[in-house]
């Protein structure tokens, strides 16, 4: 089987030399079963060892190789070359500072992720010796899709709201906050609400839905954010009607 030669236009940026990024073209003989990441690895190994990019698992699990491929945020390991035309343009993820070539700085996301406390906050914390926190299959099914997030940042790259206002907490962090808020073993919702229910939190989202369309793991962050909006709106009215409820919420209560 003969290889197909594909022109890869790769965004290059060297912070020590370049004022602005530029595109460099490489001709790559691609196998039929190659993904874009294979072609980039070929460029690195055979054509230009100065090219910088991130990757690790090559199986859509680690979330490292998120890039913009022909204008669409995608995992380079999940994008088959055969599904693209003979010219493929590869750029770093949108909406993040470009450190070098295809590598972006994701510090902003890491800070936001931490701010929503994406870990289990149990009412009565157990030691390891006391065993696991138990949960039924039905309880797991409520939030399981949100656990699939691999922090690949395709959703932030696709989100025009984040592009226009980088104070927005953003899709993945809010989806993970919702994941723990929906977890029957967790009582940390009120501790997360300061960030989640703030203006730069869920209320900055205008439900474009691009995050869910590009998500490679079907997490559906847009759904998580809309559900959090409804729950927070319910809080607002219930607090108004039942002021004594505030006290109870501080002790930790769940959405569902």
């Amino acid at each position: 089987m003969s290889d197909r030669v594909v022109e890869f236009e790769i965004l290059r940026y060297d912070p020590d030399q370049d004022e602005t990024p530029r595109f460099q073209t490489y001709s790559v003989p691609c196998h039929e079963d190659w993904v874009v990441l294979d072609a980039i690895n070929y460029i690195k190994d055979e054509l230009d060892r100065t090219l910088s990019y991130r990757w690790s698992c090559h199986m859509a699990v680690c979330g490292s190789c998120g890039m913009v491929i022909n204008g669409e945020p995608a995992l380079a390991c999940h994008a088959f070359v055969r599904d693209y035309p003979d010219q493929i343009r590869v750029e770093p993820l949108h909406n993040f500072p470009v450190e070098r070539d295809l590598v972006v700085n994701m510090d902003d996301f890491i800070g936001k992720l931490t701010s929503v406390k994406p870990w289990l906050i149990a009412k009565d914390p157990k030691t390891i010796d006391e065993g696991a926190y138990l949960q039924s299959k039905a309880e797991l099914s409520i939030f399981k899709q949100y656990t699939a997030c691999i922090n690949c940042l395709l959703c932030y790259s696709a989100c025009p709201q984040y592009a226009l206002n980088d104070a927005f907490v953003g899709p993945a962090a809010l989806a993970l906050a919702h994941r723990y808020n929906q977890d029957s073993r967790d009582v940390g919702r009120s501790a997360r609400q300061d960030v989640v229910a703030s203006n730069p939190g869920i209320w900055e989202c205008s439900f474009v839905g691009a995050c869910s369309e590009v998500c490679p793991k079907s997490v559906d962050p847009a759904a998580a954010i809309q559900q959090a909006k409804i729950a927070s709106t319910g809080d607002y009215f219930l607090d108004f009607l039942m002021p004594w409820r505030n006290k109870a919420a501080d002790d930790g209560s769940n959405d569902q």
Partner: protein, 131 residues
Amino acid sequence: MSGPYIRPVSRTGWWLTQPRYVRYMMREISSLFIGGYMLIMITGLYRLSQGPQEYAAFLAALLGPAGVAYTLVTFVFAAYHTYTWFIVTPKAMPLVFAGKRVPGSVIVAAHWVGFAVISVALWLLMTAQGV
């Protein structure tokens, strides 16, 4: 030495860069046309309160070329708004029935059925009243 490069984002033209952003803007802009139609309805009520001749003049204006054109455009936008709104309802309101997630397609279909039933009921009510 330039440091990390921050790519500029057009604050006015961003929505033209992706078809999905254009679809989103169309969904949002549809509200303006529907809002405008509400103003026409309120004007109609006001003209009705003024008397039969004033109301007849309002109806005549509404049936003029501009009125018909605006109504048609609003109808298309309202249909698009309804279509997009029904599609997103399972995201905002996931249902669990007997311990299982109700499929999104069922929730969307239920909305269309409800929409059809209410439309037919209103139609019957209006024809019974001779409107």
